[in-house]
Amino acid sequence: MTHLTLSLVEIATPILDRHHNDPTRLLQILHDIQDELDYISPETMEYLANKLEIPITRVQSVVEFYSFFHAKPNGKFRILFSDNITDRMLGNKDLFDHMLNRLHLEPDTVSEDGLVSVGMTSCTGMCDQGPALLINNMPITHLTPRRIDEICDLVKSGLPVSNWPSHYFKVDNNIRRADELLATAYNMGDAIKAAVAKGAQGMLDEMKRSNLRGRGGAGFTTGVKWELCRNSQSDERFIVCNADEGEPGTFKDRVLLQSFAGHVFEGMTIAGFTTGAKQGFVYLRAEYKYLVKSLQIFLENMRAAGFLGQNILGIDGFDFDIEIHLGAGAYVCGEETALIESLEGKAGRPRIRPPFPVTCGYKNKPTVVNNVETLCKVTEIARRGGAWYEGRGTRQSTGTKLLSVSGDCARPGIYEFPFGVRISDVLEECGAKDVIAVQISGAAGVCLAPHEFHRRIAFEDVPTAGSFMIFGKDRDMFEVALNFAEFFAHESCGFCSPCRIGTSLVKDMMQKIAVGRGTKYEINEIQRLRDQMKNFAHCGLGQTAGNAICDCITKFRPAFDKHLSSRDFLPAFDLELSLARSREVTHRDDADAHLGAK
């Protein structure tokens, strides 16, 4: 708080210098400024707009768009509880209320002394060790009432988070099953050297032979993506690592970046070598900001060892470097064109495709966007060859896949399985009993019931980005669907009407059902809205937003029916109660001042 006495210029000037007054670095500038000033005031926005020579509306739109930027004071301590369904199952609501009580606070309001505010946020990627929260962007996992008490005491003491005991911020890897990727020892530079030995064209051929497909969910063939980028006419190309792991229930990228960062960076460098790109970006979700420091140290070590920078391995013209960009709490930025917009310092609104990023991406130059896990896989192919790689997994889904297992099981964590593994095998391995449902690939994925547990994880059958949430026999699948409905309404970027309005209407109807005012009519409407969003939404977020909810309706209808009224229709709100305020101010209580229940 003492910083506020310093003038804005004194704080902003070094930050702007560090970012070369480059407006494409607006998000990074705002992060740095907010770290110093706690929030982005209208004066700050105006100052930045002038300095960066961009319209103030652009600064405002960025601050408004991202949920981790604040235009108003948020307190010295900003606490955000992860609100994924797995956190809810572990009782995050009670812990949330407990903390609010202890601090005498209302949700999302700053305490009178400006010390602290407490709110909810979407999944923070700690589902295997929840319930979890973020305090000034640092994660605290395994929350218990006692832990909440300790956090409250520390907050009240005013001790800066950086000085808190480090055990609070311990994040476990929980690797439960390791295969090719997680079990192989890492030697810095091995993969890059192997790739260089093959030559750019040779490496590309190996990539295509391996039939490696993107691990972010869509499953596009990586080799083809690289080839398209390599063959497009341009003076500049870019490699982007998509580490905006926002899909509820996924946390594999967090583990990879925390303990296997070398694989990721070498994969990027090989991609640069193969496609001719000289610059790489890791777009890291803000929830993983705690990893930045260790990642930067790793990059420094790679540079010192000559595996990044100019003339890598002494090869003339093999230049490649990597920079880390932070997101700011927007799920939609996991979509590659939205991510690129964000990387350019704008609000993360998906672009119209085509053109695709491989020909027209970052700064309208050819850009390869690959998932963290995909890039790790590249190092396996570099070291052991495409033909070897193709030997694992299934025909159309080669290699192994990391699954982020969470929910009702004895051993939540990361499981590396060859593609083609049955759902039932994963359940057995993680010690899940009496399972009624598994949600695969997050809120945008599919919900499977027990009669489908013989199905396999593979692009041919059940494709996944890695999220694997398990629901035991005591879980209410309606609550699961409600959580997803709230998630999408919150995360819709608002650009297109079918998604912006559709996700809100679905949420309203689910909440109407939750309070016992729903009828069959709402169920039909939700399914109709799903079709509308699927057909008309601008990007994948809206197109998939209704899927899991409708899966639940189809497969777990009794869970919905028990909330439904048998009436033809019920109003969405309490009519009698809605006149209460008017009765109060007019001092009326006659018969006409009541509507009665109907």
Partner: protein
């Protein structure tokens, strides 16, 4: 413009379709738009009989085939009227932005209704110091709602207002027994 309607009356004594219309918290703009069907209203009344409507000045609605509702639900009287329509109409249609989504009246939804009433009736010079409280006056709801939050609605015609041609197309489709379809340029939200 459309011949399906005018061709029907030639057949002997087919029961006319009963239509009721009303404006809740609206500006009657949608009803003005209804009148924009101009001389086609003559074709319409050959197959349609109006029940409760500002056109007939009938005060209460009997059993009807179609009910058209303009305006949003803002006070207790709106609720009673809307319930009467729902009880009596086989098909209930929300027509116009207010009925469909709350529209302009819903702009007050971010205000506390008590504060709003006080500001209008008590805090201005030249007026009294009391919020009107006569029993004759309907009480205001704390929030303005689109009609589908109070009763079940069968169809929605967006627009502020929907054009006369839009209303004509929709209603004649319905009367002819088709699934009503609105496409560009008749389907508009402004």
């Amino acid at each position: 413009m459309d011949t399906q309607v005018s061709s029907q009356p030639q057949k002997v004594a087919k029961r006319k379709i009963r239509v009721a219309t009303t404006s809740l918290s609206g500006c009657f703009g949608c009803h003005m738009s209804l009148l924009d069907i101009d001389e086609r209203i003559l074709q319409l009344i050959e197959v349609v009989e109006f029940d409760r409507s500002p056109i007939t000045d009938i005060k209460h609605c009997g059993p009807c085939d179609i009910g058209l509702i303009e305006g949003s639900v803002c006070n207790s009287e709106n609720v009673h009227v809307l319930r009467e329509f729902r009880d009596n109409c086989n098909v209930l249609i929300a027509f116009g932005a207010c009925a469909v989504a709350g529209g302009l009246p819903a702009q007050r939804n971010h205000l506390d209704i008590g504060d709003a009433l006080r500001e209008v009736y008590c805090d201005r010079t030249g007026l009294g110091k009391q919020i009107p409280n006569d029993r004759e006056l309907p009480l205001l709801l704390d929030k303005v709602h689109p009609i589908n939050e109070v009763v079940r609605v069968d169809y929605f015609i967006p627009g502020c207002p929907p054009s006369g041609d839009t209303i004509w197309k929709f209603v004649t489709d319905l009367i002819a027994g088709h699934m009503p379809r609105l496409e560009h340029p008749l389907l508009k939200f402004d």
